[in-house]
Symmetry: C2
Subunit: 479 residues, 2 copies
Amino acid sequence: MAKDEKKLVEEITSMNEDFAKWYTDIVKKAKLVDYSGIRGCMVIQPYGYAIWENIQKELDRRFKETGHENVYMPMFIPESLLQREKDHVEGFAPEVAWVTHGGTEKLEERLCVRPTSETLFCDHYANIIHSYRDLPKLYNQWCNVVRWEKTTRPFLRTMEFLWQEGHTAHATAEEAEAETLRMLNVYADFCEKELAIPVVKGRKTDKEKFAGAKATYTIESLMHDGKALQSGTSHNFGDGFAKAFGIQYTGEDNELHYVHQTSWGMTTRLIGAIIMVHGDDAGLKLPPRIAPIQAVIVPIAQHKEGVIEKAEQLRATLSSKFRVKLDASDKSPGWKFSEYEMKGVPLRIEIGPKDIENNQAVLVSRTTREKFFVSLDNLEEEVANHLEKIQQEMLDAALQNREEKTSVAVSYDEFKETIENKGGFVKAMWCGDVECENKIKEDTSATSRCMPFEQEELSESCVCCGKPAKKMVYWGKAY
Amino acid sequence: MAKDEKKLVEEITSMNEDFAKWYTDIVKKAKLVDYSGIRGCMVIQPYGYAIWENIQKELDRRFKETGHENVYMPMFIPESLLQREKDHVEGFAPEVAWVTHGGTEKLEERLCVRPTSETLFCDHYANIIHSYRDLPKLYNQWCNVVRWEKTTRPFLRTMEFLWQEGHTAHATAEEAEAETLRMLNVYADFCEKELAIPVVKGRKTDKEKFAGAKATYTIESLMHDGKALQSGTSHNFGDGFAKAFGIQYTGEDNELHYVHQTSWGMTTRLIGAIIMVHGDDAGLKLPPRIAPIQAVIVPIAQHKEGVIEKAEQLRATLSSKFRVKLDASDKSPGWKFSEYEMKGVPLRIEIGPKDIENNQAVLVSRTTREKFFVSLDNLEEEVANHLEKIQQEMLDAALQNREEKTSVAVSYDEFKETIENKGGFVKAMWCGDVECENKIKEDTSATSRCMPFEQEELSESCVCCGKPAKKMVYWGKAY
């Protein structure tokens, strides 16, 4: 066994033994990310970046279909501009990177590296919005942002990350609310259809909402270890930013009105979600729709006459419809099987001399590991069907896992016991007071994930203080 | 005439009167860019950003076809990392933005915002390259970079700009040189085929080469005002960076070798080139292949029955193959004609009651302003042909303009006279000494653009000092 081979068949830490180490092993061994010399900043390697490109492509298509246009704002925000909206600056100022010098010259005013771009969009909107004819403005930006985090983990929490941020301006409060919910639904649909990740949709409590927002909506997903991950948020700003930045338009009534705004974002942390929702002890499992390699062709007994030629012929045919790779390297088939399982490739296609004789290929599913002998005459159709099936199986498995890890708690003892021993989502009633949220966080380190749109009345009193309950909340420990 | 209408038919400054103002007028009136509150940073508006997206798509396709993979590196470079390669730090340190604080804490080591990412790629390559099997590494990155420029102009020279930077590592010097030239050719092909911009390919003199490079190759294009624009560069680093960063691999010979590296980049300044190569006094002229709107449909007498319906039907049919817009707003057809001419839309499609009666539409070319009456039965084919024709006409016109503005100078008086009165490219012989480059720059403000691959022997002596000539050089004033 060559030196390279040894290194790769080395075991990934088992999930149950140490979930955090399992995660790091996968990130490194599947070559998604390399650590950089800069604290908390990632080098996103080709395989990781290709996942992000596929995410971008599918999200961007949905944004454009819903009438949004892409723009690009500066990456620097002057300190005075950041300070324009009170809640916003309080939320972000403690965690921004400050540029104080340009070349050898000290700047008169510090610039922060954008942690998010509300203030820049507002400044621009104040320039370009004058009349009701200018509305709505439906803008989106793909870019990098920086938040000075204390502890970081690849994809999940990094100082610099990649994301998209939608920023829209509307004539009325109703339109802004409709947009906020529309984009939340776009996110939820994207997660379920493309990433095979089921999400709970709901509203954040005041404690958990975005700095400067009137209302924050969220999609929450559940990882394999029972922790929650906020996977996308959509904020309704009302006219708060418009008042701070003076964004007014002349209406059909010839009067001046403030615009109503929204923003919504999804980030490279989605790649962390994919890893932790779908992965297993053999490695990554990628949903076919965003997998950089949807099917890998592994020739068997490739030294025999005609095998590599046939494999190459299959690759050429399939590659017009699928993202296919042929691995004709001199590694052993067994090594290749492990390698592409670890890399989460949904489908393996084996072709050897016997298969060629029988005009067949062997398809092996990453999800079930079942083998299927299929005729080469309808290989394209079979590959399409199997990828479709794998995508569905992954969503089903994720849904089942979430359901198994979702509990109900009516008493506080039951609540604490469940958070501590079982984890997952705990549904429980809440009085609406931030004091109870604080106490729950202190006692259990769980936070309110959201007040789901689908409310249930589990009991009449708050699980924490016993006062009359106002809302059912999903609680959980979160990344 | 409504207030909005007045504003738009307002004249653009004529090119001949004031080229710089003409440029700024177009950038603002076509809504490519809005100025931001941050010195030298642009807000790229939807129409401008859509051009960039089309450029990205076409370049990215070419990169992937030539085997390159996209990655993402951190945007910060620690000061000590930037200093690792001597020439490189000398070239860039005076023009970087420095981050000195994270949140409220002062950093132990300053971080610069990347002006380019050689040092980061080298640091990563040192981590991941061990064996000849790891080579070549053919990476590319799409990102933003910052250079603390003194004077800035939208697209042409901005503090922050968007670009792609390819960074590759190879086993041998020959492979690195081949890659450097291959990517220069990809750039040249892209400019001519997609942007309709002819370029001169050549090598930079030592004075003009990239900080840290062994050789820099460039493509130079000529603007309407006779100034040159460096439109893309490709650098061969030899093993200089590899030695500074310790990037070594074990060869098939079992010995340690340094890798040989390249980098190459193209930026949002290409949008400036498109404006200045193709535009005229009516506004932008966009090459069909990268135009956000390839054809605009303007209904005539749109209040008449069936006109808007027919126009919408044409839009629906054409939009499967082309980027089409239907403007059914209540503005006058004349206003729309000017507006989309100003925005550089290559083809206008007029459809009115008489056209519908005759089963025809009127096509109007942005380049020649000719009108063509075409049958609706083969509208798709006609649109395709006209777009193809316009693309070719734009390249031809740009080529003709460049040829008219390219001169030969044998004596220094002739050289100075041509630079001062005619501008454009001046081909002249050079002895190879930096002193002559310096003198020419001082006397005329022209710089050596490149030593073209296609050398001619115009005379035997240097145009400046009269000593024996080594190279023919393209000289010119440049952006």
